[in-house]
Subunit: 175 residues, 2 copies
Amino acid sequence: MINYETFFKVTYGLFIVSSGNMVKGNGFISNSVFQVTSEPPQFAVCCSKDNLTASFIKNTGAFSISILNKETKPETIGRFGYKSGKDINKLEGIYFKEGETGVPVVLEDTMAMIECRLDQTFDVGTHLIFIGKVVDAEIIQEGAEPMTYNYFREVRKGFAPKNAPTYIDKSKLKK
Amino acid sequence: MINYETFFKVTYGLFIVSSGNMVKGNGFISNSVFQVTSEPPQFAVCCSKDNLTASFIKNTGAFSISILNKETKPETIGRFGYKSGKDINKLEGIYFKEGETGVPVVLEDTMAMIECRLDQTFDVGTHLIFIGKVVDAEIIQEGAEPMTYNYFREVRKGFAPKNAPTYIDKSKLKK
């Protein structure tokens, strides 16, 4: 028997994963970012196939990860988490820079950033896992605490959007 | 430039990933466990190729994930994190059960468990990413809080062993 409440006990951070270029870029809120090897340092990010950023990552062969701080503005999460880059330019009016690979790196509400060159792409059904080699990694806000997905859910009352790997149809939860 | 301190800002949980059978089983401490799709529910775990559990997962085609609680005993982490199943029987004297697939599921210090049938295996160099479909998921300790890797590192003064995806050679850190 699968108790879907169990999945909420898995700890994650909260990130913006971005790709594209300085003319047309996009990013989305992700909780599925993790290091997969240390020699060389490589990170995995998991992304819905429907996600605009997924096509940018495939085209540019690079992506950036912005580690959000605990004080991240709800507007930042709203813009990157619940809107589509197909409808709006998510980077408009947002503090960001050009990374070494040419992808945008969101710095708004960001305590640290990691930029990767795409190495492998794995298909897991509705989602893709992108594996990238780290080319740049910097602390942006010394001493800041990272936002955890748990804090976002329980204190900020946030929820996973439909494209997230951790999305749960509420009908599956016990009443 | 890669500042390795950045990697410590990525949030993870702390888990025991197990495989094998009731006669010969093994498990290891992992911080790299995450959900990759919700339809169907699938989880990824990242595991060193040198790890005994990796060969058990390949042989049995299944694995279990034990989500450790915040009060997890240092002995449990010591046994599963810093010793090899090649030298000792890690499950001896440990509270565990047989999962639906036949793999051992560690219940010691465990607040929730997830059991998966292996679906795909991806090679990322020194490590493998195992993707499994969830066959069972249960809350073991209602109301318990999960241990985070951050809490383990900063409060418990733990460190990643050499086989971990997040292992960092101390010479790479700034003095």
